[in-house]
Amino acid sequence: MSGEVLKFLTCGSVDDGKSTLIGHLLYLTGNIPIDQIQTLEAESARIGSVGSGRDYSLLLDGLLAEREQGITIDVAYRYFTAAGRKFIVADTPGHLQYTRNMATGASQCTAALILVDVQQGILPQTRRHALICALMGISRILFVVNKMDRVDWDQAAYLRVEKEINLLVEDLQLFSRRVAIAASIPVSALKGDNLVEHSANTPWYGGPTLLQWLATVQPESWRETAPLRFPVQYVIKGQRGGDSWQSDVPEGLKNGPGGTFRAYAGMVVSGSVACGDELVALPSGVRLQVATLLAGGTEVDCAVPGGAVAMTLTGEHDIVRGDLLAPAMARPEVADQFKVRLIWMEDAPLFAGRQYEFHGVAGVAKADIVRLRNRIEPESFRRLAADTLHKNDIAEAELHLSRPIPFDAFEFNQETGAFILVDRLTNATACCGMILHSLRRAENVHWQAETVDRQARAGIKGHTPRVIWFTGLSGSGKSTIANALESRLNSMGRHTMLLDGDNIRHGLNRDLGFTEADRIENIRRIGEVAKLMTDAGLIVITAFISPFRAERDLVRAMFPEIEFIEVFVDTPLAACEQRDPKGLYKKARAGEIPNFTGINSPYEAPLKPEIVVDTITVPLEESVEQIMRFLAEG
């Protein structure tokens, strides 16, 4: 058998009948061996969910937990031949929590069957799956309207669902120009109608059966039409005298320049390449010429898309794994800043400022998600503002890399436009992503028609704006810790501002004294200034005694919950008085300072501070660490 294998997935909401559909299709096309049919019948009677008949879904759910719970957790691959074509089907889970496994399946496929229960219509999960398929470049979609037996093959019911499907397809086309072929079909996965043969129950349906659609759909041929892209995967090296040569290698091959053999191995992910072709290596831009092409042990004149070959070059070059070879006239862009789409997969949310590792076919780099542009809400496909991402969220963001890499927009090349981000702390795959376009510096400054709000401002900072409000007696250590904290944050590239007596009392608040009323007004103004600064995206650190609970709570109320962090520097009065760095306690005791906190004016300790710092037994660095930890978790 020759020709293209069709890799397709089944997806849709839980219980829409994916596993039943594939199991039944395999059965009807003679792809289930007799011993497995016997096992199936025994198991259907024991744990099946369809009463007396065969529960075809049991043919697919392979994990113990899946069979016990009757759900699909991870993608299962099945291989079959029907109507003269070879198929690989990825049966993917419908539950929201396993979306990343669905995406895993989708990334390997070129066509999708999206199931819709005719009685339920399009569900949020159907939309999410359809969107993921479209974003991942699947352009051939068949909506399978299932469980038609439950509505007595009512055409009106089918048409109602079809209308919803048409609206969904229009929405999808906003995200991917490639969603070209989208059709729908009424079936019963359980009874087998319209799977392989046209059903007498749906005389009103004139389209192809499911199998006919699968047998004739043509996957997109972007690999053939895109220009040559050859990412170097591995450098094959040999010394003339060494014994690491395979036994049947002709002497001629061993005599490379300088007595060494070097071949650059990889897959022609798109386009084609022939001996003698002149190419450039990116990102360096070095020009080179193909000498020979090896497919296994055979020398070939040219390599076509999908060919895993090795090439030797004329002359000596410093080419390494991750370099991308391409024609000089149709070379990929090279950039380090991108607008991308992300599908978040890690259990942990996106941490602003956490470093991820970018992996693509053209190499690895450190990556920062510097700005979340929006989150795409699957129920409406609307773009909403977002300041973090949780598992299964779909978003658009700006990505900065530690070095420039060659790439194409995902729309034009699904290999060189795709990447994953790996969480460097947990090694988990944080998300997968698709490059929309690069961001040149100018573009970075000119954002298109989006209103600049506090989220947008915070976005370019790459961190959550916060107020870290220190409170405690005079001499308790507020300023010392606040300064240390600020230099720590500053060294990490965080944009901070420290407000203390020095820069407030002498300017903005120079009209205020130390009466109780003035002290309240002092704190109110500091609160307002801090608010403006967090709106500007900064991390604000304040170091004032701020003795009154009510005023601190007033300030707290000005901020979103997670943005106000009260740090109580809990140094006992006696210790402060003993330290007395500025001699103020002495003066106060001598009656020279009226309203001095702790002596002749009260200090109200916080009831529920976010952080309590102990300066007596804990060294300064550790207190700073304690606050840093809180910031990272919050």
């Binding site: 058998m1 007799i34 957790i73 299962a76 691959y77 099945r78 036994s247 076509v304």
Partner: protein, 297 residues
């Protein structure tokens, strides 16, 4: 490009990717047809150099004799490095499929031995010839399958595997199993063996062989350790094997297919699945999954 070309290219890409990112790669060489194909692909992937990895064979001491002979011949001919490992403690305790039952025997002599071998050599990227069409839990496994420090597979929390960009980052003593043949079917394997003239153990081809019928399965009388039970009789039948493992646990099937072409014709007409001759898969429900979770390949 036909179906076999596509499979071949995809597998070569997987093999190169894993080796490029490995510190100590190794190939689990079980001497079966899938291993033979995998080895052939590795030779192509790194041509003209030898694949930069050793072959590892976990020898339970109960393999068919012809398998061992074939292994030694192959390794010598290709000039490859072979690491064999046997759980000597298990041997000393006399653990065998007859005395301990297939489950305990497999735990100790296969799963346990494999874990020990991998720990001893600290291999971090280990190729296996498993295919997804063999068994349901394998159908669920990733091509690049993460294993924790105890070599365990966690089926409920597999890493996403997106496009052809695997995430192979790992901590100390964690490792990966890599299955380049994931997307091959049994027929693909045989058609490829035919096309490429890949040598395989002769046990795959029908010949008159001494067997005993036990519990409805035909077991080869490979050496004197298989003792006939009362009422049993040695007989000669035309049989071949669809998979090869430990001879007391691997049943033959009656067949006339004596060449690769005949094997293919037989499979095209077949209506039972490949692993139904594997006795260890049936000792409990979901047994393959359980074994993999304990570190079996």
């Amino acid at each position: 490009m036909d179906v076999l070309d596509r499979l071949e290219n995809e597998s070569i890409r997987i093999i190169r990717e894993a080796v490029a990112q490995a510190e100590r790669p190794a190939m689990l060489y079980s001497i079966g047809k899938d291993s033979s194909v995998m080895l052939h692909l590795a030779l192509k992937a790194f041509y003209p150099m030898k694949p930069p990895l050793p072959l590892v064979h976990v020898d339970t001491t109960w393999k068919f004799r012809e398998m061992i002979a074939f292994r030694d011949e192959t390794v010598a001919q290709l000039g490859l490095e072979l690491v064999t490992y046997t759980n000597m403690e298990g041997v000393a305790q006399g653990v065998s499929p007859f005395t301990h039952g297939s489950k305990v025997y497999t735990d100790i002599m296969k799963t346990g031995a494999l874990r020990m071998a991998l720990d001893m050599f600290r291999f971090d990227m280990v190729f296996g010839g498993a295919r997804r069409d063999e068994e349901k839990s394998r159908a669920k496994e990733r091509v690049f399958s993460f294993r924790d420090v105890g070599h365990r597979w966690e089926p409920r929390g597999q890493r996403p595997e997106i496009w052809a960009i695997p995430n192979l980052r790992k901590g100390r003593d964690e490792s990966f199993r890599v299955f380049p043949l994931s997307n091959w079917t049994e027929l693909d394997v045989w058609r490829y063996i035919e096309r490429e003239s890949i040598p395989v153990v002769p046990l795959y081809f029908a010949a008159p062989r001494p067997v005993v019928l036990r519990d409805g399965q035909l077991l080869l009388l490979d050496d004197e350790r298989l003792k006939l039970m009362p009422g049993e009789q040695a007989e000669t039948r035309m049989i071949r094997f669809r998979t090869l493992g430990c001879y007391p646990l691997t049943a033959g099937v009656e067949s006339r297919a004596a060449t690769v072409a005949e094997v293919i014709a037989e499979l095209e007409a077949a209506d039972t699945s490949e692993r139904c001759g594997r006795l260890i898969d049936f000792d409990q429900a979901g047994s393959m999954e359980m074994k993999k979770r304990e570190g079996y390949f």
